[in-house]
Symmetry: C2
Subunit: 422 residues, 2 copies
């Protein structure tokens, strides 16, 4: 944020604060807490006693006061737990990093904590020499670290059919963002002597019972795909593919094959069940669109969001996330009146390629009904569409690839709910 913009924002905020003194946050600060507040005057037990020692938790945990912030399974979605989804609680996240413990889950036959000493990665197919790597082999290679979002292709899928699930955890919670560390797939293909003239695709295969397999075009495989063993500074979590997964920046999560065991070089798409039958777009005329893989430009307001309640009028910081599988986020606009007027939000830095970007914008709630929306634009010029504009092309029978603008309605009692507008 440059100085000019910072100055503008502060002025804008202090103006809002002044305006809100009688009824809003200012009033709350004055009324609910002051220099005579017992909580600041009286000694608390944590000031008069010895606390807990270091390393009492060799691997730490969140505060007990945060225990309700959990990844959760949608009650109505499916009864087969091992082939289901748990959603990340976006409403309680800050910045862009997803804590590893709250990363969303999508398993096709459950998760395993695979012994890394028994795990191998094979490179085969149209190669000069088939290679099999141990984890030790891989981790001695030149590594790289990159921040990227991962989004399930079915994220926000319920909204196609106007089933407005209540919270942002269930509308957008198949979304996470990590710093990944691993080796470029291009290097492994080069080591194996992949035939880059005839080999136009690779097949990625997972080591779980679902036999997860996905075709990836060679141009993507050679670009920025990583064979990764680490997320957010530590080894992958078992639910996220320990000890090895594919990272396919900008592409839907199903292609980020977990427990990665094999990469095969081939000359045509493989047409496996998870690309021919699932993760396809059912169009209004009954045809399927296959191999739509890039996650298009999208954003969502996470605070305030569905299920939350504003307890007083006055100043609020509207905050949310924006991302695009095509590149960087260029700008995010926010409307508080259902799309009639838009204001440019400020973007937190760094703004990274195929990565979440956090946006924030000032808002003074006057107690009247409001409809909050965010609209992202990416570095290729793509603009996030309204839901009905998207439906005109895609119909209402699809499950996948919904990047429409999300609307949250604020009622006069402060309750926030999921509505579909525009």
């Amino acid at each position: 944020m440059n100085e000019e913009r910072r100055g503008f924002l502060r002025k804008s905020f202090l103006g809002a604060l002044g305006a809100g003194l009688a009824t809003g946050m200012g009033a709350k600060a004055m009324a609910q807490a002051g220099p005579d507040d017992p909580a600041i005057i009286e000694k608390q037990i944590w000031q008069t006693t010895l606390g807990q020692p270091v390393a009492v938790k060799p691997y730490g945990e969140p505060s007990i006061y945060e225990k309700y912030l959990q990844r959760r399974q949608s009650p109505g979605l499916t009864a087969v737990d091992a082939a289901s989804v748990s959603f990340a609680p976006l409403q309680g996240f800050f910045g862009i990093i997803t804590p590893n413990g709250l990363h969303f889950e999508r398993h096709h036959q459950g998760w395993y904590d695979i012994d890394p000493n028994k795990h191998r990665l094979m490179i085969n197919g149209m190669v000069k020499k088939e290679l099999v790597f141990t984890m030790d082999d891989l981790m001695r290679l030149p590594s790289t670290s990159k921040f990227h979002f991962i989004e399930c292709g079915a994220n926000t899928g319920m909204e196609w059919g106007n089933v407005a699930v209540p919270t942002v955890q269930y509308t957008h919670g198949m979304l996470s963002c990590c710093e990944f560390t691993g080796v470029p797939l291009s290097l492994l293909l080069e080591m194996a002597g992949a035939d880059l003239k005839k080999g136009k695709y690779v097949l990625a295969e997972g080591n779980d019972g679902s036999g997860m397999t996905r075709t990836i075009p060679m141009e993507i495989a050679l670009d920025d795909v990583m064979v990764a063993w680490a997320m957010n500074g530590e080894m992958l979590r078992p639910e996220n593919g320990y000890p090895l997964r594919l990272v396919v920046p900008g592409v839907q999560g199903v292609s980020w094959v977990k427990w990665l065991r094999r990469i095969e070089v081939g000359d045509k798409p493989y047409g496996t069940k998870d690309e021919a039958v699932h993760y396809i777009d059912l169009m209004p005329d009954g045809t399927h669109r296959q191999y739509t893989t890039v996650q298009e430009v999208k954003s969502v307001i996470t605070t305030p969001s569905g299920g939350q309640q504003l307890l007083t009028t006055g100043f609020y910081n509207i905050s949310g996330l924006a991302w695009s599988g095509r590149g960087k986020i260029q700008r995010v606009d926010v409307s508080v009146d259902g799309g009639r007027n838009w204001s440019q939000a400020r973007l937190e830095s760094p703004i990274m390629d195929k990565c979440l970007t956090r946006f924030n914008i000032d808002w003074v709630w006057d107690g009247k009904p409001a409809i909050l929306q965010s609209r992202a634009v990416d570095s290729t010029g793509h603009i996030q569409p309204m839901i009905n504009a998207l439906r005109e092309v895609r119909g209402t029978r699809s499950i996948y690839h919904n990047n429409a603008i999300q609307s949250w309605k604020v009622d006069t009692n402060g309750e926030v709910s999921n509505v579909q507008v525009g």
Copy 2:
């Protein structure tokens, strides 16, 4: 990393791989694993059984195979656990993010899991109006998110006296790096009407029994200091100040007051015990240097590092961390011969202000003794010094602010140990 550099590196690596085929990583890959490896041919139990369901861990944990990667207390350092240190296991980290569960700890009277509903922040002293904020008040203000390192001023302190502790966890493990979210301190000072003509300092006070208090010059306070409630996407951990801590980018960790309860504006340094007696530099002539707060440019190789062992000759990826309290990392050079020759390492992006930067460089170990060193340069032109050059000025009786080049010796049997060279 631009394309040109990527191309160069790949060529360099594949050359190294070719050279190492007979004895190194290449040989290992061919010998230890191949297309007939039972681990890739035979069905494993995770391919033939149903795995664990989603959300069986609503807040996930690392693999059981990673359970020995822990923050640890140095056996010989102190017996008073509640006023001690646990060190972060840098040897097992990747990229720049520190997992919250492995963030280093330094408590002066133990840690508390403070009820956020009972926590207040007071702004007082030379202000127009004393303010007391609840957590709700603070979290409604315009927030910002930034990535920064935090380093204890005593990190690497044992090396002053040539007590070469064995591992990078104990030499450099009072170092962590997070994305922090909070409100700029400058905004709170503006809201309280701080007297910026007479008020040249602020005092930050913690809510624990140690009465931790630190003076911060107003020019730093108004620059990039944050009052933060979140680290790496979630609320602060109790050991790291939940629900509120100060973030003072580039400044030693003791000033990042945890469980922050009060900011007082004053016209002179406060001379509290933790700045007059502790966290001072004892110079060779017996005088003290006080208020040395900026963490100077520094780096360390984390792999290979003390206590590790290279099992074969051949190719390795040398990896480490670099940082500076004065700005960005500009370059890192690595020597494998005790400082006679230096090669430029590649830096992972993004390179951020007052933040860790991960570096990597190719190395082919020929089986002979080697001494590995890294030397960082920051954007202000400061260069990390050799240990003896630093000792010439600072002597050997200090505990704090050692940013010397770290040397790891690789013996003919592959064992890596901490030595002092140059």
